[in-house]
Symmetry: C2
Subunit: 225 residues, 2 copies
DNA sequence: TAGAGATAGTTCAATTTTTCACAAATTGCG
DNA sequence: CGCAATTTGTGAAAAATTGAACTATCTCTA
């Protein structure tokens, strides 16, 4: 199949497939068909085949996919075989929790710096990660070879932090501030919005108990005061 | 407009609009047009109008939307005017960080219980939230009037925890375990996958520096061993 | 109070994403 | 070896989502 622009929905699913394969491998399973994968993990087999087909031919007709081989292929496709150095801007509750979390779940990303504006925090360490003054951002990024930034500051400061991040040439950014940010085309910004997630549940709970996502009465029209 | 099935993409955007309105209100702005909202927050004006139109007529032609009124309407639509009681299953790093985070960011959700299997943790308190034995799940849910559950356990246990949650009648679940879960139709499961988010950045960084999301060489075909 | 200007609500077209269904390829058995 | 059983990869249909264009409505000014 043509390897053109790949949708983010597709790459997100590749992440999921990889974790499913890890699970299968841990259970000693050697080969799996798309149908088998779909059944075990509540996925759609046609979608699995199509997603994989964007990147090459990994399967063997009549057999399925070799778990171990596909694991390796996906790892490579997702770039999980190269290391990245991450900084987190904002060493508040969320920032420190993230530093902790990412430290703990060993991945190819390692947190090498935290940044803050708070005099009381600057100079301290969280685990073995130094908290730096945000004013020294450019030089620390340079010195530490940082290529990924995580925004964990209050919404009001998120845009200016993003501008700072892009100004030093970092191209991959993860944002936890629940506000839309303006980005340049060449930047990859991934927003995780814990607020939306909760409000999504809130909306669901506010609906009369029927199927998910039905609405009943439209609210009456506003008029000029 | 017809108020039929509302897409989750739409309700997610309502959350975003609400935060934009909060921002505007904080700046003392009284009215805003869809175009104005779109420009300030990098959104699409047609989409804003359409999303809102699913729920009623909130705007005044020739004027726009009244910030304060629309805030109230969206708050109501999203069910943010009613309180919900949340439990978090898994009091490890992630679980405690989430308890902390949700406690801190005052919303209409309050964390009222943590659950764990670890004897050392059971009976302790995190802030003023009790850590309970997972074996007493049903009775604590009943006693505390819990209607929302958060899964913050390792992937391997996520499905059985979800089954437990649904067995006691909880309908809204937030899942942080990075594995696909099987759910009943009447349950609302919202997964936040911090792993996917990172791997998404990893994929981006693995691509040759062009536009976002291009792929270059398909991997060669597998053959039977 | 009539007309110009602004802007919401709606319809329709374009795009993206998912799903279906089938031809092509591979294996294993008789 | 040849045929039945599998299962992939893919083209095309269907569904969902987005975006643009149009119409209706409201305000304000003269």
């Amino acid at each position: 199949m043509k390897a053109d622009k790949i949708s983010e929905l597709t790459t997100n699913r590749l992440s999921i497939y990889l974790r499913c394969l890890n699970d299968l491998a841990a259970h000693g399973i050697k080969t799996i068909s798309s149908e088998g994968l779909a059944e075990r993990f509540h996925l759609n087999s046609a979608q699995i085949r199509k997603d994989l087909a964007y990147f090459g031919e990994f399967g063997v007709r009549g057999v399925g996919y070799y778990v171990e081989t596909l694991q390796k292929d996906l790892t490579k496709i997702l770039g999980l075989d190269t290391e990245h150095r991450v900084c987190i801007i904002g060493s508040g509750r969320l920032g420190t929790a993230l530093a902790d979390y990412y430290e703990y779940t060993r991945t190819n990303f390692s947190v090498v710096a935290l940044f803050d504006t708070d005099e009381a925090k600057i100079g301290q360490k969280l685990g073995n990660v130094q908290i730096y003054d945000i004013n020294s951002f450019a030089e620390v990024v340079e010195k530490e070879g940082i290529d990924v930034a995580v925004i964990a500051v209050p919404s009001a400061h998120a845009q200016s932090v993003l501008d700072l991040i892009t100004s030093v040439g970092i191209k991959a950014v993860m944002n936890f501030a629940p506000i839309p940010l303006k980005i340049d085309d060449e930047i990859k910004l991934k927003t995780v919005d814990l607020t939306i997630s909760l409000e999504s549940l809130s909306y669901f709970l506010a609906q009369p108990a029927q199927e998910t996502g039905k609405i009943v009465k439209p609210i009456e029209k506003n008029r000029r005061k």
